[in-house]
């Protein structure tokens, strides 16, 4: 039971670290490897930081303890041979990671990437109280294209004036969407 709780806590801390550092975001991971394009070096600090912390932790723990608190012994890999299986598997993992942008550890904190919900249309509704009209913006998730359905022009009959407040709201929204989608 204590073993289960300590494993669970360690897992939660690990997941939290991955989520906060942005490494659950495939776009960020892919950008780290995209030296020829939109290079984002921040992954090196996440991996480097994790590596240094782990190395210090291992050093302290292995020096002072023969076994973990809740187990009879440490379970460390004993295989020392570098073979084709290791290199081939790692190369294959790299190819898959390069395509998708996540590794098993990095994929779990954001399970929606497994379900591809990003392929759904994004629909946003705008209500215009003066004319009792609902206008919609429908965005294609795989591109920057939007369609505007039932846009309204505000007419003040008493003053005989036309205003564009509703249309301006929609235009603002579309502009914000395009800006956010083109940045990845």
């Amino acid at each position: 039971m204590q073993k289960l709780i300590s494993s669970g806590l360690a897992g939660a801390v690990f997941g939290l670290g991955i989520a906060i550092s942005g490494m659950a975001n495939p776009a960020k991971v892919l950008n780290f490897f995209d030296l020829a394009g939109s290079w984002d070096p921040s992954l090196i600090f996440v991996m480097g930081g994790a590596l240094v912390t782990t190395a210090i932790g291992y050093f302290l723990v292995f020096r002072s303890r023969q076994a973990p608190l809740y187990d009879a012994s440490f379970h460390l890999p004993i295989n020392k041979t570098i073979d084709a299986r290791l290199i081939g598997g790692s190369a294959l993992f790299g190819v898959g990671w390069g395509i998708a942008g996540f590794c098993p550890g990095r994929g779990y904190p954001r399970p929606r990437f497994w379900r591809c919900s990003g392929d759904r249309l994004e629909v946003k509704a705008f209500f215009d109280p003066a004319t009792n009209t609902i206008s919609y913006v429908v965005k294609d998730p795989n591109s920057d294209s939007c369609a505007i359905v039932d846009s309204v022009m505000d007419i003040d009959y008493a003053a005989g004036r036309i205003t564009y407040d509703s249309a301006d709201r929609i235009i603002e929204y579309v502009k914000a969407k395009r800006a956010s989608s083109s940045s990845g």
Partner: protein, 67 residues
């Protein structure tokens, strides 16, 4: 640069990652962090291999195959 990838490819990529970590016996966390922190030669070899493979794949997908 906006980059989108068809849903189907994500599933194949997931399969490739799964097969790769099975034969490679670890991923970024296992080899890259835990193994390298123990200075394991196997882990260093695996990490260098998958880092290069990932970089080459990203280059091919983004700049040669085009998006």
């Amino acid at each position: 640069m906006p980059f989108r990838f068809p849903c189907l490819f994500w599933r194949w990529a997931g399969l490739i990652v799964g097969v790769g970590v099975y034969y490679g016996a670890g991923c970024t966390s296992g080899h890259g962090v835990c193994g390298m922190a123990r200075l394991s030669p196997r882990s260093i070899a695996a990490t260098v291999t998958f880092m290069i493979a990932t970089g080459v794949t990203v280059y091919v997908v983004r700049h040669i195959a085009g998006a």
